[in-house]
């Protein structure tokens, strides 16, 4: 760096136009693109990390008014170390999640070493940190940027599940459930009128055994739903397991949606399974028809099933 560069670098960094673009990408990606089906999940996931590594170090440097190149480098290193730890270590991710939870901020983190590929964007981060003082970047705008950037970084890592209807495990236990699906095409109009009569136990065959932990979600759609070309108008499944008498669930409008892990209730498309004493209980939502299935089901080999 020459003397002029040193003078520029010694000023506190500003939120440049490039930084605002990265923030816009982060927000649009996390709140519009993720789960929309417009881009594959692997792309939106990596895009989130790339945008986050552009936004977060600059945010730290601006918020702490770091002036010298060395202090800015320390900000980058700290962010990279934290990013690396939560991408490589489940314990680190859990610890950060729990720490934020203790402060009343729910934060979900993915442990995925392949996300470290986003570190390739760091030279661009360095360029953003060298941004000159911009007369248009007034104090109020800077403060707004800091708040928006912090909120966006916190909101970026919710774990998402996809399906037209999902079942969330709201118990403390890992559940093993058997999922049955209708073996014949469903007469959706008839089932809409009287699902219980249209879909007897004999219509369902075992599709899979599903194991999912506390606050994980189980998609009730067929496993190959994203590859299928046929237009589905309705779906029906039966779920059963230890402590859970067979429950049949029918729904129309099977459009794939995105769900955030840990968001309990308030979702019209998200059912929850609760433990009430020794029994498991599926709490329905208005967009499904749910009933206790009577009749014999095909036996299954699922560990937790009766």
């Amino acid at each position: 760096l020459g003397p002029a560069d040193t003078r520029i670098e010694s000023k506190p960094p500003r939120l440049s136009a490039g930084w605002w673009c990265a923030l816009a990408v982060l927000v649009v990606n996390d709140h519009v693109l993720k789960g929309s089906g417009l881009l594959p999940g692997v792309v939106t996931g990596k895009l989130s990390d790339v945008a986050g590594l552009l936004v977060a170090p600059v945010l730290v440097a601006v918020a702490l008014r770091l002036r010298t190149p060395r202090s800015k480098l320390v900000a980058v290193v700290l962010v990279v170390l934290a990013f690396g730890a939560i991408k490589l270590s489940l314990q680190a991710a859990r610890f950060v999640e729990a720490g934020f939870a203790a402060l009343g901020i729910p934060w979900r983190l993915w442990v995925d070493p392949t996300d470290l590929v986003a570190l390739a964007v760091l030279p661009l981060t360095g360029w953003l940190l060298r941004a000159r003082e911009d007369s248009r970047s007034r104090g109020a705008l800077q403060r707004l940027g800091i708040v928006l950037g912090a909120l966006s970084c916190l909101a970026t890592s919710y774990q998402r599940f996809h399906g037209s209807r999902v079942l969330m495990n709201s118990t403390h236990d890992t559940l093993e459930l058997a999922v049955y699906r209708s073996s014949v095409p469903i007469d959706c109009d008839a089932a809409e009128t009287d699902a219980e009569s249209s879909l007897p136990a004999s219509a369902f065959v075992l599709e899979r055994c599903a194991t999912f932990g506390p606050y994980d979600m189980l998609s009730l759609d067929p496993p190959d739903v994203l590859e299928r070309d046929d237009e589905r108008e309705c779906e029906a499944v039966v779920v059963a397991g230890a402590g859970l008498p067979p429950v049949a669930i029918f729904w129309s409008d099977p459009v794939i949606r995105s769900f955030e892990r840990g968001r309990d209730g308030g979702e019209d498309y998200q059912l929850s399974v609760f433990r009430i004493g020794e029994r498991l209980h599926v709490e329905p939502v208005p967009t499904v028809t749910l009933w206790q299935l009577h009749g014999e089901l095909e036996p299954d080999d699922c560990g937790g099933a009766p």
Binding site: Q91, R94, F95, E97, A98, G99, F100, A101, A102, G104, P106, S170, H172, D173, P214, Y215, R261, G262, D264, G265, G266, S272, F274, R275, I276, G277, E278, R279, H281, E283, P284, V285
Partner: protein
Amino acid sequence: MPTHPALSIGVLVSTLVLLPRAARAELRRSMLFADMAVGTHDATLTVADRTTDEHWNAGVALEAGYTRTLRAPWFGLTFLGRYGVWADGWSSFAGERRTRFDLWVAPEFRHRFGTYGLAPTLSIAAGFGPTLARIAAAPHRSVRESYGTGFGLNTGARTTLTARPFGAHGILLLAQYSLHVTLIRHRIAASTEPGLTSSELYRFVDRQLLLGAGYLVEF
């Protein structure tokens, strides 16, 4: 006698100020302190015959206490009040807010490194006491759910390093390991199936390692 004037002044100040202060410190028999500690905890929840483990959770605690010297300078008794948050993965997903208040009494053994100046002191205490716990049920759940008041016991060991750069006032660094056993009644009722209700006793056993720092005053 020191020949350098600055050294002479230093000795004079030490004689007139620090020695009487140190002597008074020996006579001080009470200490009040407050600190904040953060760390990790493992928890095990047992309900009837079902057991769930939660690892690598966070603990935050605010503490205030009083230490009374009984056998100067090496032995005393510490009374501590601790207010803490114990979050785990499940409670953060659900949105439950868990807090507890501990009382703790412990014999304390001390060793003071030197008599003058900072007079750093290493203390080790081990004790026990009652615990009062509250869990605010998660909002927005589609079942009706509530918790009673939780009661339990806490026990553990605590080591502190104190220094007194401001005479009777000082700082402390602490590390403590504690074990809590808490019993709390959980009630849940299905919204869509009248009569499907449950009332069970939850037993939490959690082990907590906290590191912290605080402020003390002796009198």
